[in-house]
């Protein structure tokens, strides 16, 4: 029911949007979003009521699985055991699942989706309230996206999950390339699609492996409670992780996300900050019982997560495009989440639960504050006529007061300054990593990761405030496109900003410290996890992380407090490092050299092989009948009498044969 509404809304918008609704094409989308949100809230309340009331000893206390219809079926599902394996029976049901994890995600998706759709109604108009071309297309895609995302998070078996996964990928492609007239936008869309496709293939193979090793089960209950873990589980987990990397823009598949900023800013906020990119995190959280059994893969996960967060933070230091800074920041924060997830080792300990709750906590807070930051950036873009180059704007706090405040809250949250949201969740993550170092076989590894995480916290704070200060402080600089007539965005844009601001400020504290809303307590009702009873803050981590954040903040103020131009002030002397960072560590170039060029060479070789060797063989085979035909072709000389002669001879032979046989 929850994903159905946006899907239907999207369908309606697709069908009648361009003709009937025109400038009101956002209505089905927003109405469906609101309705889904309401149902999600109800579902969340139901789940939490069940969760807190349920007896933890029950096998399935707070998880409801609803089967809507049988999708398709092959083989005989009544056959079991070895016979089943031989027959390869497959029974796919369209079933959804409500448990703490999915209901929390659903509420977040519908809430942010609706608010961002409202924001987009203002953003997708020019300054005379005239809608852009493709207005209804935009809302149809957004609607479809929300529906697919809900299907992804609510799925109860991997097929539905995969369908949702591909659905969000498709919507992402459509929305990045929304302004397909722009070459860069269509290229970025293609890049995003192809890069995520690499991950999708890995995901599919991983799911197939799991399907086989679980005895041909598709539902999560069957998949996650494997009776005997064989060697393929590690490989399957690794493949799932690659899939998650593709979707969540982790190294080495992170290159598409910054380019995806070519899409409209609400899309960046919704898809590439809050929801779709977190699908990978959600996937790993969902499959945590499997990942926890393979610590080697988990080390890869935490390593990749840490490395990505560090790398992206370093790149973000020198970028001048506001949206790109935010994009790299997103990559970095997603790295944090993977760092947390990678710490979920040893199923019998409390670590997996802690990892999930930390990752999900950060996911939720990040969704809010990053959405807020993106929407603020969108507001800036809207006011500045799509100019967000930090070298050309500055001192906007007087021009855009509401946006300024919203951005400030978002930045504080991102930087992890207490008591804003990011502080709580980031501390959770670092604490989990610290905890993991105590129970891992390689404590030094996790300690190192922890240290890098704290360093990244410092970097985060620094680049965030660099962007903030450059954009909103200093002398008032307006690009010439604005013609000096910058003004605050319309109410449809500022209202969602204000609402999300409140959440960005308060959600961290609320979910972390207020018992009724505690994310940890809520998620701990998931079945099959060991729960750590008493909650304690890792004060060492908190101290370090907060200190790093604050240091970064003040350093940024020291460097950029005057809001000066970038070209004059270089924060570091190492020019090489700056160049490296500015050019995103040359990842695109390296990929071009390492992957694309050898592929091109291979193509050429393959082409030659195909044209001269394969075609040669085929032609040779074709030559035999041709030669035989050449023998008989002179018969067809066009002379009627020759044909008649041949016919008579044949008839004579036939008659002779007939006479002999009589």
């Amino acid at each position: 029911m929850i994903p159905l509404m946006p899907l239907v809304g999207g369908l309606i918008t697709f069908l009648i949007g361009p003709k009937v609704l025109r400038s009101q094409a956002h209505l089905p989308c927003i109405l469906a979003g609101v309705a889904s949100f309401a149902i999600s809230i109800v579902a969340l309340l139901e789940v939490s009521k069940a969760a807190f009331a349920a007896n933890p000893e029950l096998s399935n206390p707070a998880s409801v699985s609803i089967t809507y219809f049988e999708w398709f079926r092959s083989g005989d599902p009544n056959l079991v055991g070895d016979h089943l394996r031989k027959v390869g029976s497959l029974k796919a049901e369209f079933s959804l699942r409500l448990d703490p994890l999915s209901s929390a995600m659903a509420v977040m998706v519908t809430f942010l989706g609706t608010l961002i759709a409202v924001f987009a109604t203002g953003y997708m108009r020019d300054h005379h309230s005239k809608v852009e071309a493709g207005y209804s297309r935009f809302f149809a895609c957004v609607s479809l996206f929300i529906g697919s995302m809900l299907m992804l998070v609510l799925a109860d078996n991997v097929l539905v999950l995969y369908a949702g996964w591909e659905g969000v990928g498709l919507c992402s492609y459509l929305l990045i390339g929304f302004w397909f007239e722009k070459t860069s936008a269509s290229l970025a869309a293609r890049k995003a699609f192809l890069v995520t496709r690499l991950g999708d293939i890995a995901l599919f193979i991983g799911l197939a492996l799991l399907w086989i090793s679980s005895g041909y089960r598709l539902d999560f209950d069957g998949l996650l409670n494997l009776k005997n873990y064989d060697s393929s589980v590690g490989l399957a987990c690794f493949l799932l992780f690659i899939g998650a990397c593709g979707k969540s823009a982790q190294f080495p598949l992170h290159v598409w996300l910054p380019d995806a900023m070519e899409g409209p800013t609400p899309v960046s906020a919704l898809i590439h900050a809050a929801t779709m990119v977190t699908a990978g995190v959600y996937l790993l959280a969902r499959f945590m019982p499997l990942f926890a059994t393979v610590p080697d893969v988990q080390m890869v996960v935490v390593g990749i997560g840490t490395f990505t967060s560090l790398l992206a933070a370093l790149i973000a230091l020198t970028q001048t495009d506001l949206k790109r800074i935010l994009a790299y920041s997103t990559v970095s924060q997603l790295g944090y989440m993977f760092m947390a997830l990678g710490s979920g080792i040893k199923m019998e300990s409390a670590l997996p639960m802690l990892a999930i709750s930390a990752a999900m906590f950060h996911l939720l807070t990040h969704a809010f504050f990053k959405g807020l930051l993106f929407l603020s950036a969108g507001s800036v873009m809207h006011a500045m006529h799509h100019v967000i180059d930090l070298r050309r704007i500055g001192g906007l706090r007087k021009v855009l007061p509401v946006t300024h405040l919203a951005f400030l809250f978002g930045a504080l949250a991102l930087a992890g300054i207490p008591p804003f949201a990011g502080f709580w969740s980031k501390d959770e993550i670092l604490s989990v990593v610290h905890e993991a170092s105590k129970s891992s076989n390689y404590p030094e590894y996790y300690i190192f990761m922890w240290a890098v995480g704290i360093y990244v916290a410092f970097l985060t704070s620094f680049y965030t405030f660099r962007a903030y200060l450059l954009a909103f402080w200093g002398d008032c600089k307006l690009p010439e496109e604005v013609h000096g007539a910058a003004h605050e965005s319309p109410i449809s844009m500022t209202l969602p900003l204000m609402i999300i601001s409140i959440f960005a400020v308060g959600i961290g504290f609320a979910l972390s410290n207020l018992t009724p809303f505690s994310i940890e307590g809520f998620l701990s009702k998931m079945p099959g996890y060991v729960v750590q009873v008493e909650h304690h803050h890792d004060w060492l981590t908190v101290g370090f992380a907060t200190g790093a954040g604050v240091v970064g903040l003040f350093l940024a103020i020291a460097f950029y407090g005057k809001g000066g131009t970038l070209s004059e002030q270089t924060p570091l002397k190492a020019n090489f490092a700056i160049e490296l960072s500015k050019n995103k560590f040359f990842f695109d170039e390296i990929y071009n050299k390492v992957i694309v060029t050898p592929l091109n060479v291979t193509f050429v070789i393959a082409k030659v092989f195909d044209q001269y060797i394969l075609d040669g063989i085929v032609d040779l085979i074709a030559h035999f009948p041709k030669m035989i035909a050449q023998l008989f072709r002179p018969i067809q000389n066009g002379l009627v009498q020759f044909y008649a002669l041949a016919m008579v001879l044949a008839v004579t032979v036939f008659l002779i044969a007939l006479a002999r046989s009589m």
Partner: protein, 361 residues
């Protein structure tokens, strides 16, 4: 193999050999006479010589095989002229002469038609072919105004292969016919088979052994040899009689004193004969046959009214019957043919008309 078959075989081989010789000579004659590049006048003699020898051999065979009577003489004369006319048509370099030779053939075949008791068809044939078609083509030759002999007339396409193909076909047909009519084919018929079978059936009712022997065996297994002759003297059915009945049966019928044994052998013979009739019945036309057409083709030949030569009666005044047949039973076909003629006339006019616009062909 009995004596009878040996005689038959030598007879056949002699016939076959002469027939083949005749055909070979005919082929040579046609091949030599066909207009070819560089063909010289002296080859005409060769051609005529071969042709006459060939026809002489064929005629000698005909006279040898059939009893001499006016019909045979007339048949030979008409056949001779029709074949000569056809040969002239084949070999003539001048299409006008060919057309006249064709008229000769038509006239001669008219005589043959008369011999076959078809006077109306003869008349129609001569009117349509000799009167209309040949004359029309002579006019056509005039219209196209060929002033000199064309390469088309002086050279043949594949003369050797073409004449070989034609004579191979001819030889095949003749040999098939020779095999199909080994002796007087009119005596090999259903009627005789049916007669023998009905006699056998009657004989089966006799209970006295000596009386039965007199009736069916008559000292020389009478019934069996009659049936074998009725089957044509050789072939599958005769073999079956020899294998299934005579192997035990001849002995049995001649020597056996056991009436039951004789009767079982007769029953076996009866079965084979019935099967023969059933198989031959398949060759009969199925469905209703025109009622005015004369003898019903599904009737056994034995039941058909015969003339005094032993052949089925076909009165020379059958034209009135033919008219009755055409305008009663086959009225629709006649009307359709009339329509076809009309369409053909219009079509010919349309085809030959000069089109207003230049059409390249």
């Amino acid at each position: 193999m009995n004596n009878e078959s040996w005689i038959y075989l030598t007879n056949l081989s002699l016939l076959f050999g002469l027939t083949n010789l005749s055909l070979l000579l005919g082929w040579l004659s046609i091949y030599v006479a066909l207009p070819k590049r560089g063909s010289i006048g002296s080859s005409n003699f060769l051609c005529y010589g071969f042709g006459f020898i060939s026809l002489l051999i064929a005629g000698a065979q005909v006279f040898r095989e059939y009893s001499f009577n006016p019909e045979l003489v007339l048949f030979c004369i008409f056949s001779f002229f029709s074949i000569v006319g056809a040969t002239l048509l084949v070999v003539s370099k001048n299409p006008a002469r060919g057309a006249l030779a064709f008229a000769l053939t038509i006239s001669s075949t008219g005589g043959i038609f008369l011999l076959l008791a078809a006077p109306f068809v003869m008349a129609a044939n001569i009117i349509v072919y000799a009167g209309a078609i040949v004359v029309t083509f002579l006019f056509l030759l005039m219209l196209v105004k060929q002033h000199h002999a064309d390469l088309a007339d002086t050279e043949c396409r594949e003369p050797f292969l073409a004449s070989l193909a034609g004579f191979a076909l001819m030889a095949t047909i003749v040999s098939i016919l020779t095999a199909a009519f080994p002796s007087n084919s009119l005596t090999v018929n259903r009627g005789e088979v049916e007669r023998v079978l009905s006699e056998t059936k009657v004989a089966l009712d006799i209970s006295n052994l000596s009386e039965l022997k007199v009736k069916v065996i008559n000292g020389d297994s009478y019934v069996v040899s009659r049936l074998k002759n009725a089957f044509g003297g050789s072939g599958y059915w005769v073999e079956r009689i020899e294998v299934e009945v005579q192997k035990n049966g001849t002995v049995l019928l001649n020597k056996s004193e056991n009436i039951d044994e004789i009767k079982s052998a007769l029953n076996l013979m009866l079965d084979i004969g019935t099967e023969y009739l059933k198989n031959k019945a398949l060759l009969r036309p199925e469905g209703p046959v025109a009622s005015n057409a004369g003898a019903d083709p599904s009737l056994p030949l034995a039941k058909i009214r015969k003339d005094k030569t032993g052949r089925p009666a076909m009165p020379a005044d059958n034209t009135s019957f033919l008219g009755k047949l055409l305008f009663s039973d086959q009225l629709l076909a006649v009307e359709l043919v009339g329509l076809l003629l009309l369409v053909a006339t219009i079509g010919a006019i349309v085809i030959v008309r000069k089109l207003p616009t230049k059409v390249s062909l």
